[in-house]
């Protein structure tokens, strides 16, 4: 432990140098903006700024601090357009739309923005504290997580989400299957066979997750707005001056604890990131709530706080295997790892002994960055909330422009622009038919991970299904899956019996 404290002291002495402090603040601010723009997420922000930071000749620790600031700044910023516009700002903010946007529509945009900023702060801080204390230990756990364990994790995720927006279970199921089908497009990662590409080379590497998110959510929302305008049925949202209160914080306190822990652990695993973290934590909260709790999806504070705490915690968690083992846990950390290598610094166990100023400087900057993000974000809540008072006929084209620019910036392939329009039409039709879009997205992201890992596990075992039940992690996850399926039914049972008795009498 003394090692940790002396390390932190070194770190803060690096991170608190005026120049580095300025970079953290700049990175956080810029990252928030990048995150808030639909389509552009942390990975793009970091990729865009890496060459700039390198060519400006920053010392490695400063460059890394700047890039990391952008990374968690973007995880913060993603929530803004999710809440205000119902368009996820980045991949980790999909679940935030489910309850965040209804809150804004109910005239609580300010409350939603400030509560989610606070949730992000708590998630991020819990992650960095856990990382400081148990980093190397956790990295071993993350790496030891087998493909078969990922299968169990995905089963758990499906179990928690089974009743998601469960007004109509059949439609939820159809939505999830549509997501699974979208995920199969492209070169199959296990056999190299082309699936559903129809000879279109742009489809060989599959459809990018963000293209699906922006298409299905963003463009569909846009078409919906245009349709409302055409029919003259636009509802104006009242300007609100609401803000998070102590009562709100107390109401979601356990949600925050659970979501932060789930987000952190999912983040540490090399194969999963912010989108899985937020989905699992949202599902868990929904399952923890009483079965007759109809608030979820209508603007529940827990449903907003959980994904936001989780996606920020996972950003911290993803740093653990990167720093301690030199293994990137997400696309964004892969770029950070590349940044280290550009500076001729070898990540991995020796990083802490050979370059303590970098390793600990980065960790200290995460503490500072989290505080800075809260300080930057809370006063801006009113400003952001006023975005909703922009008349729809200005707002709609603005969202369209941002979405198109965002998607084009990711990979610079015009094909993706056609793709989001096609997916937008599909999303709009699904909405017309009263489908919820969240299961489609979840089917897409969880399904791909499920398939890859299942087949990976089976190629490892040579086709023996027994491998799925070979570790304590998988047993635990299957037990938890059973728990979340049976639990609500069990809790609901005595009351039903009571009602039955009352009927008889």
């Amino acid at each position: 432990m003394t090692e940790v404290f002396s390390g932190l002291a070194t770190g803060f002495s690096v991170a608190l140098q005026p120049f580095n402090l300025m970079l953290v603040l700049f990175g956080c601010f810029f990252g928030t903006l990048i995150g808030a723009l639909p389509g552009i997420g942390p990975i793009n922000g970091v990729a865009i700024l890496l060459p700039i930071a390198y060519s400006l000749g920053f010392p490695p620790e400063s460059a890394l601090i700047l890039l990391a600031g952008i990374y968690y700044g973007a995880e913060y910023g993603g929530r803004i357009s999710s809440i205000l516009l119902n368009v996820p700002g980045d991949a980790g903010a999909v679940m935030t739309t489910l309850d965040g946007n209804p809150m804004a529509r109910n005239g609580q945009a300010g409350k939603a923005l400030s509560l989610s900023a606070l949730a992000s702060f708590i998630g991020g801080t819990v992650a960095v504290v856990l990382m400081t204390a148990f980093g190397p230990l956790l990295a071993q756990f993350g790496v030891g997580f087998q493909p078969s364990d990922y299968v169990a994790l995905m089963i758990f995720a499906f179990a928690t989400l089974a009743s998601l927006v469960g007004a109509n279970p059949i439609k939820t199921l159809i939505g999830a299957v549509l997501g699974l089908m979208l995920a199969t497009i492209g070169v199959d990662s296990n056999t190299g066979v082309m699936r559903f590409t129809f000879g279109v080379p742009d489809l060989l590497s599959g459809i990018d997750f963000l293209v699906v998110v922006i298409g299905l959510f963003g463009m569909a929302e846009l078409f919906h707005l245009v349709e409302q305008q055409a029919r003259g049925a636009v509802k104006s949202i009242p300007v609100d001056r609401t803000f998070v209160s102590w009562a709100d914080i107390l109401y979601v306190r356990w949600t925050l604890v659970r979501a932060s822990l789930i987000g952190f652990i999912v983040g540490v695993l090399p194969g999963t990131g912010a989108s899985v973290a937020s989905a699992v934590s949202y599902g868990v909260e929904r399952r923890m709530a009483a079965p007759d709790d109809k608030m979820f999806g209508q603007g529940d504070r827990r449903g907003l706080a959980a994904p936001e705490a989780a996606n920020n915690a996972s950003a911290g968690g993803a740093m653990v295997p990167m720093l301690t083992l030199g293994i990137p846990g997400s696309g964004t950390t892969a770029i950070l790892l590349g940044a280290l290598l550009m500076f001729n610094i070898t990540p991995g166990p020796q990083l802490f002994s050979q370059h303590p100023e970098i390793a600990w400087g980065l960790i200290a900057s995460m503490y500072i960055g989290n505080v800075a993000l809260l300080v930057i974000n809370l006063p801006m809540v009113g400003l952001f909330a006023r975005l909703l008072t922009i008349p729809q006929h200005y707002l709609t084209p603005l969202i369209a422009i941002l979405a198109f620019i965002g998607i084009y910036t990711i990979v610079g392939n015009p094909f993706d622009l056609y793709m989001i329009i096609a997916l937008g039409c599909m999303g709009w039709l699904l909405r017309k038919l009263d489908f919820s879009l969240a299961p489609v997205i979840l089917g897409f992201v969880l399904g791909a991970l499920f398939e890859d890992n299942l087949r990976r596990a089976l190629s490892i075992s040579g086709g023996d299904w027994g491998i799925l039940l070979s570790t304590w992690e998988s047993y635990l996850l299957y037990a938890l899956s059973m728990g979340v399926v049976i639990g609500p039914w069990w809790r609901g049972r005595p009351r039903r019996r009571g009602e039955g008795a009352a009927d008889k009498a």
């Binding site: 990729a47 865009i48 890496l50 993350g142 790496v143 030891g144 997580f145 087998q146 493909p147 070169v187 199959d188 990662s189 296990n190 056999t191 190299g192 082309m194 000879g199 279109v200 080379p201 742009d202 489809l203 060989l204 590497s205 090399p270 194969g271 295997p321 083992l325 030199g326 293994i327 990137p328 892969a334 770029i335 790892l337 590349g338 290598l341 550009m342 001729n344 070898t346 990540p347 991995g348 166990p349 020796q350 990711i410 990979v411 610079g412 392939n413 094909f415 890859d452 990976r456 190629s459 490892i460 040579g462």
Partner: protein, 323 residues
């Protein structure tokens, strides 16, 4: 057609003609057929930084992702076939994709293979506590029972990464199709799989091992002709252990197939100079690449030689018909 359009069209055609006739590199560009941050980006950065002094102006790196390089290959065979300014980055993986038809109906003759950016070599890697102490131990285990060893890498079955594993299996006298192979999503995840015990052998690349020479892993063999320079000088090659397995992963550039001989020659001359330049070699090393001082006809021959090796393996593995 209005008068104005006619004038503009004529002007454009005139410019186009002037461009082809001048045989001059005015606006150098390197197309990375992928997203920013990957291997092709790195390939382009080598020429951008390493040849900065030689080029008339700063080289621009552009990205043309889609279809693991297919979109770019298609673009340079349809609309930009004679653009003398644009280099396109490629790797051994691209050659394989081209051969097995993932780029459509194109062949090796549909590009002008220009010059090497550098080369990396395959590596056979196990965990430090693995029972396989040498490549011979692994070979013995695999020839006794090909299914007793689980191999893995960052690419799908049939990919360049898989081929390294297939090459090892073949050298051990096992059928590559019978080997147990787990495909991971990129080298990072495969490495995690090795450290976590999901797979026993990782067929990765030498350069990525720079970060892992701390004793957590053991490199059984480098798949190079000769031992590589420090920090890899301690790693024996497969060849010196009596296993005939060499796997270079070439990185280089091609031009559109209709680029004139004069422009091609200009680029070849520049690369020949660069390959001998200490500054270029330094950039190469920084990007984790070993020298590949080939340009022009010699490079074209190297590409075709590697294509033959890839073809043989691909046919044996049933990935493409033997014709």
């Amino acid at each position: 057609m209005s008068n104005k359009t006619t004038v503009i069209l004529a002007a454009m055609m005139g410019l186009g003609l002037a461009g082809t006739a001048m045989a001059e590199i005015t606006k150098p560009e390197c197309v990375a057929p992928a997203k920013p941050g990957g291997g092709f980006d790195l390939t382009c950065r080598v020429v951008q930084t390493g040849m900065e002094a030689m080029l008339p102006r700063a080289l621009e790196v552009t990205f043309m992702p889609g279809g693991i390089g297919a979109v770019a290959f298609n673009e340079f065979n349809t609309s930009r076939t004679d653009d003398p300014n644009a280099l396109v980055a490629f790797s051994t993986g691209s050659i394989l994709n081209l051969l097995v038809g993932k780029y459509g109906e194109y062949s090796l003759d549909d590009a002008r293979w220009l010059a090497g950016a550098g080369v990396d070599y395959g590596a056979v890697i196990v965990k430090a506590d693995s029972p396989f102490q040498t490549l011979a131990d692994l070979m013995a285990a695999m020839s006794a029972d090909p299914t007793s060893v689980v191999l893995g890498a960052g690419g799908s079955v049939g990919s360049q990464d898989w081929m390294k594993a297939a090459l090892i299996a073949k050298a051990a006298g096992a059928d590559p199709k019978a080997m147990r192979y787990a495909a991971f999503d990129g080298g990072g995840e495969a490495l995690a799989g090795l450290l976590g015990g999901a797979i026993q052998v990782y067929t990765g690349d030498m350069a990525e091992m720079a970060a892992h020479l701390d004793g957590s892993l053991r490199i059984l063999a480098a798949l190079s002709e000769e031992r590589l320079p420090a920090p890899y000088a301690e790693v024996p090659t497969a060849k010196e252990q009596g296993v005939d397995a060499v796997w270079p992963i070439m990185r280089g550039y091609y031009l559109g197939k209709n680029v004139s001989d004069a422009d091609y020659a200009t680029w070849v001359a520049m690369f020949t100079t660069a390959h001998a330049d200490a500054g270029f070699q330094k950039v190469q090393a920084e990007k984790g690449l070993f020298p590949l001082p080939l340009a022009g006809a010699a490079f074209d021959a190297a590409v075709r030689a590697q294509a033959d090796t890839l073809k043989t393996l691909a046919v044996e593995a049933g990935l493409m018909p033997a014709n």
